[in-house]
Structure formats: structure tokens, C-alpha cells
């Protein structure tokens, strides 16, 4: 662990990513303190450019963009993290069952996974939210439903290779139950790969969430980055900053998560470093 930490901090882009990510988390945490008012409230003249009276300017209705971006961080991060956690649980369960038991169960579950990988996932997410109604719950459900397949494939591969290792066969010959072998011996050994892939999945989930809310498929009562960009689109010609600012926030957050994920990969899987 100590060695892993020092490897992580030797990796400069990863440290930069971590600092960026901490800034975003801090901003989301302090949104209610810095801008206690409703982010939908009109606070000044519309179309004020950034760095004037309001830090990031105002939009076409005179709403403070900085307040919108800070409050939007909460929604976007919440949806990204919760959807990813669900996707990880589903992916680990399906991939683990397939990899551990193998045989017909494996081929059945893998056909199922392949099917989900064939479906154009963004269209499927749009369809799900359109049918279930635009709420935070259905957005989270849709994102987790389209994000689990890569995790299932990864975990299946890891479990399959673990299954034939000597220490696992020793467990089997000792008469240990399946549950104990899986949860005490195999899962902890695959945790580092799961963490790395899971962290990168959060970035993808945020991109999907912002895409959906850009198209108007988000909870109408919560501020989110994609929503601000979508509503600012019609005034692009006169007020480019309405779209530009929340987009920068998405870009920086997603980049930060990717950099941290790459750094974790180097730190936790040192043998894969050459890739």
C-alpha cells in the first residue's frame, strides 16, 4: 500500500487530477454556503459577461451562472457516483458468477452481456428515460443499466484466472464454501482492477448524464451542467459564456477523474505499467 501511494504521487498528471477533483468536490460541498439562494433565482440583468458583477456572468433570464455551476456539480457528481456504484455491483455479480462457475452459466451470461454491448447505449439510455419519465431516479437507472457490461467482462476474466490458481484450489480441497472462497479470497484479490475500472466509469457516467440533460432529459427541478448548456444553446450567438462555463466544468471534472484513474492503474497494477 505504501509503495502504491508513493507510485501514485510520483505520477505528476495523477496528482494534478487529484487536486482538480478535490477542488470540484469542495465546490460541490460548499455550493449551499457560497450561494445559499436557489440557483434558478434571477439575481441581475440578463446577458452579463463573465468576470463582471457576477463571477461567471448571467444567462438569458438573469440567473447567476456561478451558482448554477456550483449547484450543478452536486447533481452531476451524485448521479455519476450512484449510477457507477450500481453498475459496479451488477457488473461484479454477473461477471463473478460467469467467471467462477463457468460452463453453461458463463456462456449464457456472456451472451447477455454481449447483447448489451451491441445496443447503441446512448440511444438506449434516451429511450429508458423517455419511457420512465425524466427524474433523477430514472436517469441513474438508465446510466447504470448501460454501464455495467465492461465491468462484467473484466471481473469474469479476473475470476477465471483466479479460479485456477493454487491457493484457490487449496481452499476448494479444504472444503470451503463457494461464498467464503469468493468473498474472502477471490474478491479482495481483484479489488484493485475493479477500483481502477470503476473510477474511469464515473467519468463516462458523467458524460452520459450531461448528454442526457443537454437533450432535456433531466429532472426539471434540479440544476445540472448539461441542462444549463442545453438551455443556453438558443442564445449561443449573443452569450457564448452560458454554454462555455458549465462545459468547462464537465471537461475539467471528467479529465480529473481520468487522470486519477490512470494514476491508480499505475499505482495498483504496477505490472501493467508498460501499457
Amino acid at each position: 500500500m505504501q509503495a502504491g501511494l508513493s507510485r501514485f504521487f510520483r505520477h505528476k498528471p495523477a496528482v494534478l487530477g487529484l487536486l482538480l477533483l478535490l477542488t470540484v468536490l469542495l465546490a460541490a460541498a460548499l455550493a449551499g454556503v457560497v450561494y445559499p439562494a436557489d440557483p434558478f433565482a434571477m439575481v441581475g440583468k440578463p446577458f452579463q459577461p463573465p468576470f463582471g458583477e457576477h463571477l461567471l456572468g448571467t444567462d438569458q433570464l438573469g440567473r447567476d451562472l456561478a451558482a448554477g455551476v456550483l449547484h450543478g456539480a452536486r447533481t452531476t457528481l451524485l448521479v455519476g457516483v450512484v449510477a457507477t456504484v450500481i453498475a459496479i455491483v451488477v457488473g461484479v455479480a454477473i461477471g463473478g458468477l460467469a467467471g467462477y462457475f463457468g460452463g453453461r452459466l458463463d456462456s449464457l451470461l456472456m451472451r447477455f452481456t454481449e447483447l448489451f454491448q451491441t445496443i447503441p447505449f446512448f440511444l438506449f439510455a434516451i429511450l429508458l428515460v423517455a419511457v420512465l419519465g425524466a427524474s433523477i431516479g430514472s436517469v441513474i437507472f438508465a446510466i447504470s443499466l448501460v454501464s455495467w457490461p465492461p465491468m462484467a467482462r473484466l471481473v469474469r476474466g479476473e475470476f477465471m484466472s483466479m479460479r485456477n490458481r493454487e491457493f484457490i484450489q487449496a481452499c476448494v480441497s479444504m472444503g470451503m464454501g463457494h461464498a467464503r472462497i469468493v468473498f474472502v479470497h477471490i474478491l479482495p484479490n481483484t479489488l484493485s482492477s475493479i477500483i481502477v475500472t470503476g473510477s474511469l466509469m464515473v467519468a463516462t457516467a458523467i458524460l452520459i448524464e450531461s448528454g442526457l440533460s443537454f437533450l432535456g432529459l433531466s429532472d426539471a427541478n434540479t440544476m445540472s451542467w448539461g441542462f444549463i448548456i442545453g438551455s443556453g444553446r438558443s442564445v449561443l450567438r449573443t452569450a457564448w459564456w452560458v454554454c462555455a462555463m458549465p462545459g468547462m466544468a464537465i471537461l475539467l471534472t471528467v479529465m480529473a477523474i481520468n487522470l486519477v484513474g490512470d494514476g491508480l492503474n499505475d499505482a495498483l497494477n504496477p505490472r501493467l505499467r508498460s501499457q
Binding site: P120, V131, L207, S210
Partner: protein, 327 residues
């Protein structure tokens, strides 16, 4: 490789795709049932009002009073004959509507696919050949940025810069409707409109393929055949071009094929931003018109498209690499 052998392979793969398509149809049916209201409600809504007797009559006509299993079979029978229903918003059969919008999407996708794989392969091998030098660092910085940029936002920012500020490219559409260009002028006009949407989508996928290509080239560079080539006196440039590049490209092309579905999803967003008149824009319009039947039709057709693209990539792969056994 014999032609009839690969034809048999293609046929077998096509048969394997049948269950996939059937499951998608079942999924579509499930979503249709989950949505509030049924076809009779929609029809009655379009007509303005309806008595309960008329509604019951309508339900009987569409088989909506049958058990779910029978309804599913009816639905499958409908889809197999490529009857995707009727769009009341557009007063047109869904299948016809989708077919008329397929061309622009295919044009956009093929362009992006070619550009992204081509540029990604070049940049990736350039990065791998200059490992940890400034070229490598520059390229990886570029890919990190491009990979984190939301596609729709990149499109909007490109519109601000190149259409609004500089006036180089049109903001939306596929051609100047009022100009009635013919022949070469029409091709030029479409190409002019294609630049920004294609560039927007290419950036993201180029970043992905650059990373893949870099890893792939690094992996190939430690292979025995590279040592052999070096031993027989080939220059590094010759080895890189003739041997490593071709072998390293294969996994990238496969990945690109697998990603076809994701790229189609990206096309939805890009088409919406640039009002490119393809399937994606149609999906966005149907979302707003609450035309679920049309949205389901688009979903079905695009999934079939992905199955076909995967098949083509598989076949291309076996042609490019004769070591692959056709099973």
C-alpha cells in the same frame, strides 16, 4: 481463402445475429408496454375524443385485448415484415421515415470512422515511436483533453468560433436548401456542411484510437519478428511502416467496429447540435413530439445497423489477417 468459405462464415454469423435482433424486439415491446398509454390512447388523442366503446373497438382491432404473449408474437410478426408502425406526427410510416434519414447518418458515421481510425493510427504510432519524448507527451495531452470533452459542448464551441466569429462554416443543416445546387456544386456544399459535425465527433474517437494504437504498437515492438527484421538490416522506419504498423492496426480496427454502437449514440448528440438531418436528429424530434413508436423504430434500426457493422468488421478482419480461423 476461398470465397465460398467466407460466404458460409458470413451466413453463419448472420444466423447468429437473429437471436440478438429478436431480443431487441422483445425489449422494444417491453418498453412500449412500460410507457403510459397504448396505441388506442394515442389514436384517440389524435382524433380529439373517443367513447369507451370506440376505444374497446380500437383495442380489439390492434389486438390489445389479447394476452401479453400473443401481443408479443403479433409485434414480432409486424417487425419481421419491417412494419414499424405509423408516425402520426409525420403522417408517414415509421420505416419509410427512418429510411429517408439513414443516408445522412451513414455519411457522417463513415466519414468519422475513417478519419478517427486513420488519424488515431498515425498519432498513436508516432507517440509510440517517440516514447516519453515531447511528441509523445504532446499527443497524450491532446488525447486526455479530447477524451474528456463532452461531444455536444465541443460542437457548440466550434460553432461559436468557426461559424459565428469567423464565418467559415455554416452553423447547421446538410445543404443550402434555397440554393438548389446540382452535381459537383451539391457535393461541395454537403462537404462544407459536413466539416464541423465530422470534426466534432472525430476528435473524441481519435483520442480513443490514439491511445489504443500507442499501446498496440508498443506491444508489437517487442515481438520476435521485429528483432528478425532488425537483424536482416531493415531501417527502423521500414520496420515501423511495413511490419509494426500493419500488425498494430488490427486490434484498433476491431475495437472501432465494436464501438460502432457507441459512435451512433454520439451521432445523436452531434446531429442535434448541428441540425444534421439524420437518424439522431429524428430521434431528438421524436423525443419532443412524444412519438414513442418512432423512437423505438430508430432504436431497432440502429441496433440492426450495429449488428451489420460488427459483421462487416469481422469479415474484414479475417481478410486482413489470414491467421484468423473462420469458425
Amino acid at each position: 481463402m476461398a470465397w465460398n468459405q467466407s460466404a458460409a462464415y458470413a451466413l453463419r454469423r448472420l444466423l447468429q445475429a437473429v437471436p440478438t435482433v429478436l431480443v431487441i424486439v422483445a425489449l422494444n415491446f417491453l418498453l412500449l408496454k412500460l410507457a403510459p398509454g397504448d396505441a388506442a390512447d394515442v389514436l384517440a388523442g389524435e382524433a380529439g375524443s373517443a367513447t369507451p366503446e370506440f376505444m374497446a373497438q380500437l383495442r380489439e382491432k390492434f389486438g390489445l385485448d389479447q394476452p401479453l404473449g400473443v401481443q408479443l408474437l403479433l409485434y414480432m410478426k409486424q417487425i419481421v415484415t419491417f412494419d414499424l408502425g405509423y408516425s402520426f406526427r409525420h403522417s408517414m410510416p415509421v420505416a419509410e421515415l427512418i429510411l429517408s434519414r439513414l443516408g445522412p447518418t451513414l455519411l457522417l458515421m463513415v466519414t468519422v470512422f475513417g478519419l478517427a481510425v486513420g488519424a488515431g493510427a498515425l498519432l498513436g504510432s508516432l507517440a509510440a515511436r517517440n516514447l516519453n519524448r515531447w511528441q509523445d507527451n504532446m499527443i497524450s495531452m491532446l488525447t486526455v483533453l479530447a477524451y474528456a470533452t463532452p461531444v455536444f459542448w465541443a460542437g457548440l464551441m466550434l460553432i461559436v468560433l468557426f461559424s459565428i466569429k469567423l464565418g467559415w462554416f455554416p452553423t447547421s443543416g446538410m445543404q443550402q436548401v434555397a440554393a438548389f445546387h446540382e452535381g459537383f456544386a451539391k457535393v461541395r456544399d454537403i462537404a462544407h456542411h459536413l466539416v464541423l459535425p465530422a470534426f466534432t465527433l472525430t476528435m473524441f474517437y481519435m483520442a480513443l484510437y490514439t491511445r489504443l494504437m500507442r499501446a498496440s504498437v508498443l506491444e508489437q515492438s517487442s515481438m520476435d519478428y521485429v528483432v528478425t527484421a532488425r537483424a536482416k538490416g531493415l531501417t527502423e522506419r521500414q520496420i515501423a511502416r511495413r511490419h509494426v504498423f500493419r500488425n498494430a492496426l488490427l486490434p484498433v480496427v476491431t475495437m472501432a467496429g465494436v464501438q460502432a454502437g457507441a459512435m451512433l449514440g454520439g451521432a445523436v448528440v452531434v446531429e442535434t447540435v448541428f441540425a444534421w438531418p439524420g437518424l439522431g436528429l429524428l430521434a431528438y424530434e421524436s423525443l419532443f413530439a412524444r412519438d414513442l413508436n418512432l423512437l423505438l423504430g430508430i432504436f431497432f434500426v440502429s441496433t440492426c445497423l450495429v449488428v451489420i457493422v460488427n459483421l462487416i468488421v469481422d469479415l474484414a478482419y479475417s481478410f486482413l489477417d489470414p491467421r484468423i480461423e473462420l469458425r
